[in-house]
Amino acid sequence: MNQSALFLIILLAPLAGFVLNGLFGKKLHALAGWIGSGAVLMSFICSLFLFQRIAADSTPLLFKLFQWLNVGNFQIDLSFQADRLSSVMLLVVTGVGFLIHVYSIAYMHHDEGFYKFFAYLNLFIFSMLLLVLGSNFVVMFFGWEGVGLCSYLLIGFWFNNEAYGKAARKAFVMNRIGDLGLLIGLFLIYFQFGTFEYSQVFEKVETGAYRPEILTAICLSLFIGATGKSAQIPLFTWLPDAMAGPTPVSALIHAATMVTAGIYMVVRCNVLFNYSPITRDVILYTGLLTSVVAALIGLKQNDIKKVLAYSTVSQLGLMFVALGCGAYSAALFHVVTHAFFKALLFLGSGSVIHALHGEQDIRNMGGLKKQLPITYWTFLIGTLAITGFPLFSGFFSKDEILLSLYDRSHWLYPIGLGSAFITAFYMFRLLFVTFHGKFRGAEEQQAHMHESPALMSVPLIILAVLSILGGLINLPHYTGNIAQGLHHWLSPVLADQPEHHHGFSTEMMFAALAVAGMLLALFLTRKKYLSDAVVPEADAEMTGMGKLIGQKFLIDEAYDAGFVQTTEHLSDGLHTWSDKKIIDGLVQQSGKLTGLMGGLVSKVQSGNIEWYLLLMVLAMAAILGVNLFI
């Protein structure tokens, strides 16, 4: 198959799925799910072919669909580019996306909006592909906005619930703030470099054709965009609320793919960020702070999906830490492994929620191990992967990040390690409280409890296998010549990469330190939640520091008081003063004037033909007279 056909199929298959399901979904019934999944599978298969080509030859494959805008010197092409970086993202998006589509067929089975759900999911995949495949900033921006829109639609999917609608709006507004940053970044890029094409921008940066302060402004703006989409401080509060959407959505959009768009963007623009050390510092500290704060909040959450949501924020923070250290391949490595295990954990939680008919509070669970064996074992694997149990995928990717953090600063390393420790703590807490001990819910629920159907469990098993083996793509140095696969794979798109030079024993020591922390957390939680059978307290019963953490450090409240209320007061004032008095007055007057003139003009139209002819003759006479005699 030729290259353009591959590109077209990858992009158009999900779009076709969206159109089919959107237009005829109602009549297709159960078929809608299969069409949606099939479309993504088709993309995935073609992505594999594309991947194979890129593996053979590292020069980026370009595909120009057509010229989109051409005004004077301003040109934008609708063109795409597949290189080492986008091919990895492609496989993750379509591969994990396909598994989640299949899972959703069973999960959303009873939902009224079944077809709409798949239409949105397909549209999401299409937008995400635009985002990762675009060869210039504009196409990326379109994808960026598209995934934001789909995220909004899917968070508010059950829009009859008002709280869900509000959560969707919050996500949308927060993302908009970030997008504004990105947009400013794009304008600055055009202003400085006169083009939006990646290759041309990067080339100009490398030849030094830029002003350093503008480059820093560009990088900072781009990073603000990334904080919105990838839920970093200060724009992270939307992600936990986004859990209002159906669970497969949380898995696909709010864990595995969309939220990593910010990381993809920074890796894509690594050339820019390399020349702006200040921004890299900002990224590093923001990531580190987010990682710790979110992990702390995760400790006290009792909603199974909220724990995972804060964990996602925390893990994304870790990826930004890697970006801040310039370890781009480590960040991307964690994106991939995180996509596997976090999708697994979310789908597992979905399976639990499904079995318990909508119950999400872990205090009402417990002892689910027996009734839901597949869910339990896969969830266990996911937990071990995220906590960094030796030889699981998370172990390798997290160590890689911590190692680069150590290289950057010996003083920051303990903080990163601490974040990993807290992660292990809340994850094992979640595992023990949910699956071990005795069931604490209603009798009725226990009677109806059942393991999920094959359509749900098979994706779980595949993701579990990937969560175990995912580390193979980028093994640490001490494994010899098979090590650092992803790092070498990405080297054509990464400008300059710090190489860490540590001896075997040093690397081992770091790994041992991380594992020790993880095991400590395991024993502490095991004692507390398993041996002593402590049930987490309700929010109302918390005291002291625990209460502050339980209330998420009051960040939502602070935003509300600081921004929302102030804006509302300001807008109230403006409304009564300027809007009503000045603008309304003007609009009404001009509206009246237009209406009056309209009335005059249509009076002429009397329907009388002699009158018309007379007017025409008079007009002709006037025109001729003016032209001939004046």
């Binding site: 057509f66 010229q67 989109w68 051409n70 237009t594 209406g595 003139m597 309209g598 009335g599 003009v601 249509s602 002429v604 139209q605 329907g607 033909i609 018309y612 002819l613 007017l615 025409m616 007009a619 002709m620 025109i623 001729l624 003016v626 032209n627 001939l628």
Partner: protein, 463 residues
Amino acid sequence: MKALILIFSGAIVLLFAGLGKNERKLLPLVWLTLFLALAMNGLEYFGWELPWEQQWSSMLQFNKFSLAFNFLLILLALLGSMLFVPRLEDKGADVFALMLFSLCGGMLMTSFTSFFMLFLGLEIMSIPLYVLAGSRKEDLRSNEAALKYYLMGSFATGILLFGVAMVYGTTGSFDIYEIGLRYTGATMLTGMSPMAKIGILMVMFGLLFKIAAAPFHFWAPDVYTGSPGRVTAFMATVVKTAGVVAMFRLFAISFGIADNFWGPTLAILAALTMFVGNLSALRQDSFKRMLAYSSVAHAGYLLLAILVHNQNSGKALLLYMTGYGLAALSAFALIHKVSREQGREDVSAFDGWAKRYPVESFALLISLLSMTGIPGTAGFAGKYFLFSSAFEGYTWLIIFALVLSAVSVAYYFRVIIAMYFRDSGNDASSVEGSAMSVRLALIICTALNIAAGIAPWFILERI
């Protein structure tokens, strides 16, 4: 040329084949004729020529310009014939045959090189229309429309003919290129004689009448409202396109050199047309009448292309007419549907439409957005290129046009609001699905409109 002959023969075959038969049965034949013509026109565009075709070269000229516009004309006629399904009691093939004859006239008007052919095309196009306007014999308003159109139309024809005579008197030629050359010489040497001036202005008046530009637009609201739906749609799209293109050809090729003479007059008339069209549309309750006035307003925008009369404005004209034609076709078709269903054509008839007819409402939504000129539709792209081509020479006029486009939002959006944000008193049981061909044509119109809005270059590069 081949398409023209095909359509003409198709019309004659229809006349005989359809004696006394129900119109519906003849529809496939009409579609086939137009579809084949479309294909032939396409082939001709890409270079297919028969040896005998050279002979008409002194009267007609089929180049990329005229073939692209002919393609548009045939496409609009085809979609129009799909969008309006005849009623059961409609008998006789004369209506279709007349429409095809009229289309032939329109195609001559895009490709003439001689005043003979211009006049012939104009009349071949107009005379069937006088009959078509009155084709609903039992309807008084239809009769009135026919008579009005005929009386005023013949008046305008007289004016045009008078102008042609004057032009011939000053240049001694009917060939448009020849006239262009003569005018060049004449204006260089002595300035224009009064006779030449009167000739140009009279020709202008005659053509302005055909495209319903102020102050020669008076017939349009009454005739558009009174005529049967498909005839109105045909007049607003095919006839208007042919008229504007003929005017563009003539004023670019023959009178282009004298544009500092007729330019200011035409600019003022364009402004007047936009003003009258948009402001009158504001006051209408009948959606059909509103669209009639909006069609006048669009004629005002189209005159911009003639004012500039260069390569770029010709391209913009093609794009604009594509967008306006597709949008107007579906809008008139849906008015037809609503009036057949509820017996009224006012905006409130569309209350709560979106719930009952999602596909139709979406098509109407896109049409209205396109006519307003909202980005993403062909209407926006057309306005954008048309306005930017004229911006340098006629800045004041473009600003005026932009202000009036903003005014147009007020009346176009009334319909959108009715469809999407109002509840209808009727329950959903009164839904009457559209015929398959109507639905297909609506989807084609909508899809093409959006496609042309997203990738206008595909159309712009055709000339």
